[in-house]
């Protein structure tokens, strides 16, 4: 719960603080580059999530899980 509180605090701070600038649509050229987005290679993400969930105990965090598997 403490971690959750930390996250909500960070979120609200970010929303309110002056670090966040209003970026106009014509200034978003760099943000539109694939490497600046958060999911530019879905097939690679698919393999990565599958590999790590079958070798480690943690799962997820950034997206909703697809199907599961009986990975050993």
């Amino acid at each position: 719960m403490r971690v959750l509180a930390m996250w909500i605090f960070a979120l609200l701070t970010l929303q309110g603080c002056s670090v966040v600038q209003t970026v106009e649509p014509w200034q978003k050229g760099n943000l539109a580059k694939p490497e600046m987005t958060f999911d530019d290679d879905p097939l690679e993400r698919g393999y990565r999530e599958h590999i790590y969930t079958s070798k480690e105990a943690s799962a997820g965090g950034s997206g909703l899980g697809g199907g599961g598997c009986g990975c050993n």
Partner: protein
Amino acid sequence: MVATKHHTELGAALLSAAMALPCIVSTAHAESAPEKGTLSFKYLNYKESQQTSSDALGVYGRADSKSGASAYDDRILVKATSSSLVVPLNSEWSMSGTLITDAISGASPAYHTQALSYLKDFRRAVDASVTRYLPNGTLTVGMSHSGENDYVSRAASLLATRSSENKNTTWTAGLAVNRDQINPANQIVLNETKRSSEVLLGVTQVVTMNDIVQFNMGYYKGQGYFSDPYKIYDERPRDRTQQKFQTRWNHYFNDLNATSRLAYRYYTDSWGIRSHTLDAEWVQQIGNGWSAAPAVRYYSQTAAKFYVEVDPSILPFPPSPPANAKYFSEDQRMSAFGGLTLGMKLTKQLNLDTKVDVKLEQYGQKGIWILSGNGSKGLAPFYARNLQVGITRSF
């Protein structure tokens, strides 16, 4: 009058001056279906091994092993192919589908990192989704199905996004439900099921022209059969809840034409496992459509409450679980360890519509690499290398 094609030098000069104007200005328009469809293929070659030697196991070395001998035992080998297709139907709807086939072979330990036994399996998974684009957001419905010899998994999901007027803030909310059927080949259990649901909440915020951050929170709740039927002494709780928190930050360096991508995830669950994951990637544009992206990932997890540590006095035999223990597992994945991945990805944009990429990663997992506290002992260091080759085409 028809715009004539017979241009003179002056005419051609004026036209070429105008062609420098951006035809595709990469502005963030109102959410609408992608302008082009995409077809992608990716091949994966994944190979695991473990280092079983007296040196590697330290004081837990096998009594009969030669000192200093560094033997690597093969573990799992996976050859997989996946293909995905994204098709915009019109400016308000798009569809996507992915097909994955895995050919799995190799060896897997029956407990800890001992008693490797051979296995062979084939998995096929398909998922499909439909997205509706609304003036200020999107709605996506997805379904997936995965089947292998002894395991069938079905899932459905709903994801909604909502953007602020200037598209600088996007909220995400998602729900996924899962239903698995387990019928192990050794028939230790019959027709077991596992059900789960997961909720995801997130926000993506544009911070500057060159910075974007994302926060995600996930909550998972599952009931049913969680044990591994192929492992000795494996009896896990019939329920599990998980909480995950993730932060991501991408920063573009104008002068270097490179992007840094950082991510941190904190995970905790009802089995006593807590983990930290730190991802760092540097995407460097090299010119001529090439880019190189070295990446590093560090992972650390505590052991599950019911994990039974290796007992050095009876190695290589499995320790019996504590007498009054209701739950127990000797699965390496439930132990306490740290994991490190080093990878390199090369991408080449062949033309406006085609991109190819190749990625090589090396992963190592060791008890001593844990972030803090005591890592689990007596487990052979685990290694995995994977090679991915992919191609994407827009149409």
